[in-house]
Amino acid sequence: MDAIILQILNGLDKGSAYALIALGLTLIFGTLGVVNFAHGALFMIGAFCAVTLSRLLSLSHEVAIPGQVDFLGNPATRDVPYVYDIFGEAAGAAIIDWSVPLAILLAIPVMIAVGVIMERGLIKHFYKRPHADQILVTFGLAIVLQEIIKYYYGANPIPAPAPQAFVGSFDFGALIGFEPGTIIYPYWRLVYFAFAVVIIGAVFAFLQFTTFGMVVRAGMADRETVGLLGINIDKRFTIMFGLAAAVAGLAGVMYAPITSPNYHMGMDFLVLSFVVVVVGGMGSLPGAVLAGFLLGILESFASMREVLEIVPGLNQIIIYLVAIVILLTRPRGLMGRKGVMED
C-alpha cells in the first residue's frame, strides 16, 4: 500500500513537469494553431535561468590562500563571491543558497521576452503556413537555441541544488495515518508539485475569469469571428505566446534541482510532451493536464520491480503503449475536439 502511494506521489511529480510543458504547448497550439517544436527548448532555457542566476550570484574575485599551491604548483587562490562583500558572508551565502527560487524572478521577464521575440520575429510569419513548415522552422530554432546554450555552458549537466531549507524529506505517511518513516517524500518535490498546481490553476483562472482570457478562449474557438468584432486578437496572441513560454520556463527553473540541467534536456522532453498533448486531445487544456498526470503515474507504476518481473521492459515502452491504446479507443485523445489537427 505505502509503495503504491509513493509511486502515485512520484507519478504526480513527474506528471507535474509533463503537464506544465504540455499546457504551454496546448496554449500555443490552441491559440495560434502553431505546432511548436521549440517548446522543449523553452523549458531548457528556463532551467538555465536557474543556472545562470546561481552563476551570477556566485561571481567571485580571487583571494590568495597563503601557504597553499594549486595543481600546477602556482599559489592557490580562493574565490570569494561579490555578494559576500556586499551583504556579508552569512546573508551572501543565503542568497546563493536560494538562487533557484530567486531565479523565478529572473525567468519570468526573460521567458516572456524570449516568447514575444520568437512570436513577433518568427512564428507570426508561419500562421498560414502548413504544419510541416512550422515543424521544420521551430525544430531548426530548437537546435539553434540548444547549441547556443551548449556553446556557453558545455554539454555536461550543471548542478542547481535546492535551498538547504528544502533538503531532506517530509514524513507524508505520518500525516495520513501510516507508521512514521514509511512514506517520506523530499520537500523539494512536494514544492514542485504544489508549484505546478498553482501555475496550472493560475492559467485556468486567468483564461476563465479575465476579459483577456475570455477573448483568447473565444479566439481559440473561432479566430475569424473574434477578429471581425474589431478586437486586436493578434496582440493578445503574442502575449499568450509569452505566457506559454513563461509557463515552460518556470517549469524548467523549478525542475533544475530535480535533474541537473543540460543543453539537450528540452529535446528529451519534447517528444514526450507531444505524446502527452495528443493523448490529452489536441487543443484541450484540461486534457493536457490530465494526460500529463496520468502518464506520469502510469510510468511510475511500470517501473516497479514487481511489474517488471511480470513484463520485462515495460518501463521502456509504457508511455507509448498507453498512447496507442488511448488513441485507438478514444479517437481524439482524452478530451480532444473534433476536427482539430486531423488533416
Partner: protein, 413 residues
Amino acid sequence: MFGLDKKDGSLLLIVTALVIFAPFLLNPFPEGSALAQFNAGYPDLMQRFVIFGIFAIGFNILFGLTGYLSFGHAAFLGVGSYAAMWMFKLFGMNVLPALALSMIMSALFAVVIGYVSLRRSGIYFSILTLAFAMMSYALAYSVLATDMDGPTQQGLLQKGLTGGETGLQLTLQDPRILGAQTTADGNIPVPTLFGLEMRSATELVLGDWVFTFSAGYYFSAVVMLIAFYLSIRIFRSPFGMVLRSIKSNQQRLTYTGMNPRPYMLAAFVISGMYAGLAGGLMAAMDPLAGPERMFWTASGEVVLMTILGGVGTLIGPVLGAGAIKYMENIISKINSDILHSWFAFLPDGLEDFIVAIIYPFIGKGWHLTLGIIFMLVVIFLPGGLVQGGQKLAALFRRKKQEDTKSATTEPAE
C-alpha cells in the same frame, strides 16, 4: 522512355548521369588543396547519399502524395537492417537475399503498424507511428538485447536478437548456410554481390585529383535509380493520383466511390518497404545494425530531408537527404586546426578573429549550422531546395513560367 513522358524522362536521365559521375562531381577539388575538405566523393558518404535518398523517396510517396506525416518511419529502416544482418549471419553473404528479406520484413511491420495507425489521421496518426517506432527502438535497445542463451552459453543469441546499443554485428561464429564462417585469413567475410565485394573500390588518379569508384556505391546507385524510377511511375499513375486526391479532399474521394483506407495502407507499406530497402542496403554497405536507426530523431531526419528538399516533388527528397548527410559528414569534420590553415595567409590577429567567428558554426557546431539552414530554407524557400533551384533557373532564363511551376511544386497541404 520507359513509359515516362519527356519531362520525367529527362529528369531520370539527368539523375542517372549525376549518379554515374558522382565520384567526379563530388570530388571537384584536388587532393591536398585547402578546399579538399569539402570533397564528398568517398565511398561511405556517396553510399549514404543514395541510401538516404531511397529512404526519402519512399517517405515522400507517403507524405508528399497523401499528406500523412509519419513520425516513425525509421522503424522500418531499422527492421530492414536487422533483417539483412540476420540473413548475412544465417544464410549467406550475398546482398540480394538480404535485401529481399529486408523488404519483406519491413512490409510486414508496415502492414501491422499502418493498419492500426491509419485508423486515425492528422497529428493523431503521427503520434501513433511515433509511438510504434519508439517502442521498436526501446525493444531493440534493451529488451531484445538481453542474453537469450543463458549466461554460460555462447550461442547466436548471446546478445539477443538485436545486439543492444552496439547493434547487431557479424561474428566469427555465425553459422552461415552458404559460404564460409571465416575468410582464409581468419576474418569475418564481407557482403558481396555474387562474389563482388561491396567494399571493393578502385581509384583513378588524374594529376592532383583522385577519384574512387566503389562497387558498393554503384550497386546502391543502381538500386536507387530503380527506386527513383518506380517512384516516378507511382507519381504518374492512377494510384498516385488517388493518393494526391486523398491529401486534397478525402471526403470527396469517399463520395466518389473510393475507399481511402486501402490506398493509404498500400502507400504506407510501399514507403515502409523503401525504408526497409534503405535499411538493408545500409547493412550491406556496412554490416552493422544499430538501434539508433529507429530513434525518433532518425524518423525526424527523413521528415526534415523531405521538407528541406521539397515535399511532393520527385527529386526534392534526394536533394534534402544529400544536403543533410553532407552537413553531418563534412561540416562536422572541420576543426579549428583546418580553419587556421585556410586563413593562414592572413595576418595573425585577423586570422584568429575570422577563425573565432566561423568556429562556432563548424566542427562540433555543425548542429548549429544545420538548425540555421532549416530556418533559412523554410523561411525563404517554402518549396524547399527544389524551389530554390527553380528560382535560380528562372533568374537565368528571365522567363515567366508560372503555370508549370505551380502545377509541379505545390508545397505540403
